[in-house]
């Protein structure tokens, strides 16, 4: 990394917008000379081309190509049918990663959304709301890499009898409990990793849920109070149903995130002690140049996301009808 890269970067930062500007101005000059019917036919494609081109090269084509690779051997020389998929669904390590991803899917999604909802509702009732929100939101801008190092210290383990350096073990030590090797012990490590994921995600859920909570008119809540509903009933029977559309949007996002989880597992345990998830499993196959197997893992991940993709498209179409 030297002066050359700095110059290349400056050229890119200045050059790309200028190049696009040139593309637009020169292109429009050319298009305006054409006949009206040709103009109206060609112009939209000319404008959409850079974006659609990028999306095609880096997403659409690779997506299709990955499906093809998943049916081929590591050297990409021969068709091997479903062998890569058979490997994925029979090999113990990959099955563990599949199980862990399911754990992430259920617990990460549920608790991130649930805690986001609870905290948003609680904070709505106090005067220091904005300050408390900053505290809860703080982990969101932090990278998963940094969050992993933060939590490596929380989960740090020293042998019993020595001073505990990990916050969590020091805390349970106060109650006379023996320290736990949270990240090594296979009964706690997945829960520990999922908790770190939840910790980084709750702020995101809270902010979005809180925004639509503010949109609920206070008259509705007043009416419920006059009818004699207590606070718990109001939350359960009035607020939550009104927030449901938002909760499903946030929930879908969390489901997708849970399936794509990579950074936290990669940095904190690198998949050791049975903590692998499908994304880290795929990456290690990729590192070992088992492209076929890696592609099959990718396809499985994609298939798991397809229902959510359809939900998103449906929601988009509904929004379009309302425009």
């Amino acid at each position: 990394m030297g002066i050359d890269q700095v110059i290349t970067s400056v050229i890119a930062v200045v050059g790309v917008p200028l190049a696009l500007l040139g593309y637009i101005i020169v292109g429009e000059q050319v298009i305006e000379r054409l006949s009206d019917s040709v103009q109206s036919w060609i112009r939209p494609y000319f404008w959409a081309l850079p974006a659609v081109g990028f999306a095609t090269i880096f997403m659409v084509y690779p997506l299709l190509r990955t499906v093809v690779i998943s049916f081929r051997n590591s050297e990409d020389t021969d068709w091997i049918g479903l062998a890569n998929y058979k490997y994925f669904f029979t090999f113990p390590d990959t099955l563990t990663s599949l199980r862990n991803s399911l754990l992430w899917l259920v617990f990460y999604t549920f608790f991130a959304v649930f805690l986001g909802l609870i905290i948003a509702i609680l904070l709505d009732r106090v005067r220091y709301e904005s300050l408390a929100k900053i505290a809860i939101f703080l982990p969101v801008p932090i990278s998963a890499v940094a969050a992993s190092i933060i939590w490596k210290f929380m989960f740090d383990y020293q042998p019993p009898g020595t001073p505990q350096t990990g916050t969590l073990n020091a805390l349970i030590g106060l109650f006379g409990r023996d320290p736990v090797a949270w990240l090594v012990n296979s009964t706690t490590n997945n829960a520990a990793l999922i908790f770190v994921g939840i910790w980084t995600a709750v702020g995101f859920c809270m902010v979005i849920i809180s925004a639509s909570l503010k949109a609920i008119s206070s008259e509705v809540l007043e009416a419920a109070r006059i009818d004699g509903a207590n606070e718990f009933q109001i939350v359960r029977l009035v607020v939550t149903p009104l927030l449901w559309p938002t909760i499903t949007v946030v929930g879908t996002t969390m489901l997708i995130n849970s399936l794509k989880t990579f950074d936290i597992v990669y940095v904190m345990t690198n998949g050791a002690y049975d903590t692998d998830v499908i994304a880290t499993q795929m990456f290690s196959q990729l590192q070992h140049a088992h492209y076929g197997r890696a592609a099959a893992v990718g396809v499985v991940l994609f298939i798991a996301i397809v229902p959510l993709l359809i939900v998103n498209i449906r929601r988009f179409q509904q929004q379009e009808e309302q425009r």
């Binding site: 970067s9 997708i256 995130n257 950074d263 993709l309």
Partner: protein
């Protein structure tokens, strides 16, 4: 409820002290609420503070006592971890590399996305709806589905291991979401403005550059923060296309140090603090734009 009943019963007797009593009762009733909130806030803030404090302690202190012991004298604060991290081979270049990856990636994708979004918002063409539905679908496609073919593509054109590869990859991955968001924003601008410009003889180039772009600046600003931090914090994309290249960014170097060091990783707290300094600064100073970007883009996967 009960506080209210107490009030009505005693109202006639001691009107003055009642409101104080009522107030106290109300406060006591709300005590659990405050307690729960404080516990949540502590869980969400203490780990970060603990690690920040640890980053200013010596490695031997970190390995033998918890960060909280430093709150009492002797404090023993030192910058040793920072010196150690920055003197490690590859760390300082990787910080520069993070900057050189993040800024061009952000600029490239946002300029392309704005132009594409304009076409989808203000032009009619056959297949437009299908194209756009594909874009909506692409927003949630896991990038894992693209890693292998894109890696092979970079190897083919000899871009593998260069920062240019990561610029292109990030731009490709970010585009669907940005086109989607900007198209919604652009499409919400008043139609009359564009129509009257057309009547005045302004072509699409003028309408885009003089009307659409300036009016979209608020959305672009929020998106810039969002995209910038996304690329700055990225691990997977850089790890895949840069791996062990000298152009690898800070996040990749930190993650590789964590795995290779095994024990004695404690001084990496300093690296983590340096890595998250920029996102935290952005969050603190540009909070409003940051949160707006998140709420408006809540559909993103």
């Amino acid at each position: 409820m009960s506080a209210e009943q107490v009030t009505t019963r005693r109202e006639s007797a001691v009107a003055g002290s009642v409101s104080a009593l009522n107030n106290l009762g109300y406060r006591l009733q709300r005590l659990p609420l405050h307690l729960v909130i404080i516990i949540f806030c502590a869980i969400w803030i203490v780990p970060t503070i603990g690690m920040m404090i640890n980053s200013f302690r010596s490695v031997s202190d970190m390995g033998t006592s918890g960060w909280w012991t430093t709150l009492f004298p002797p404090h023993g604060f030192t910058l040793a971890s920072y010196n150690q991290v920055l003197s490690l081979e590859g760390v300082t270049p990787s910080i520069l590399s993070s900057v050189l990856i993040t800024i061009p990636s952000t600029v490239i994708q946002l300029t392309i996305a704005t132009m594409g979004a304009y076409a989808f918002a203000w032009m009619k063409f056959p297949g437009k709806d299908i194209f756009f539905i594909v874009i909506v679908g692409l927003m949630v496609v896991p990038i894992q589905m693209t890693l292998i073919p894109v890696l092979q593509f970079f190897q083919l054109i000899h871009l593998n291991g260069t920062i240019m590869a990561v610029w292109l990859a990030h731009s490709g991955y970010g585009l669907p979401f940005e086109v989607f968001l900007l198209r919604n924003y652009l499409g919400g601008l008043p139609r009359e403005i564009f129509e009257s410009a057309e009547v005045d003889g302004a072509g699409h180039a003028v309408r885009f550059l003089r009307i659409a772009v300036p009016m979209t600046i608020p959305a672009i600003a929020s998106l810039t923060i969002f995209v910038f931090l996304g690329v700055w914090n990225d691990l997977l994309v850089a790890l895949t296309y840069l791996g062990t290249s000298t152009a690898r960014p800070f996040t990749v170097v930190i993650s590789q140090l964590v795995t290779s060091l095994g024990g004695g990783w404690q001084f990496l707290t300093a690296a983590a603090v340096l890595q998250m300094a920029l996102p935290l600064a952005v969050f603190i100073f540009l909070q409003r734009y940051f949160v707006r970007g998140i709420t408006s883009g809540s559909v993103k996967g």
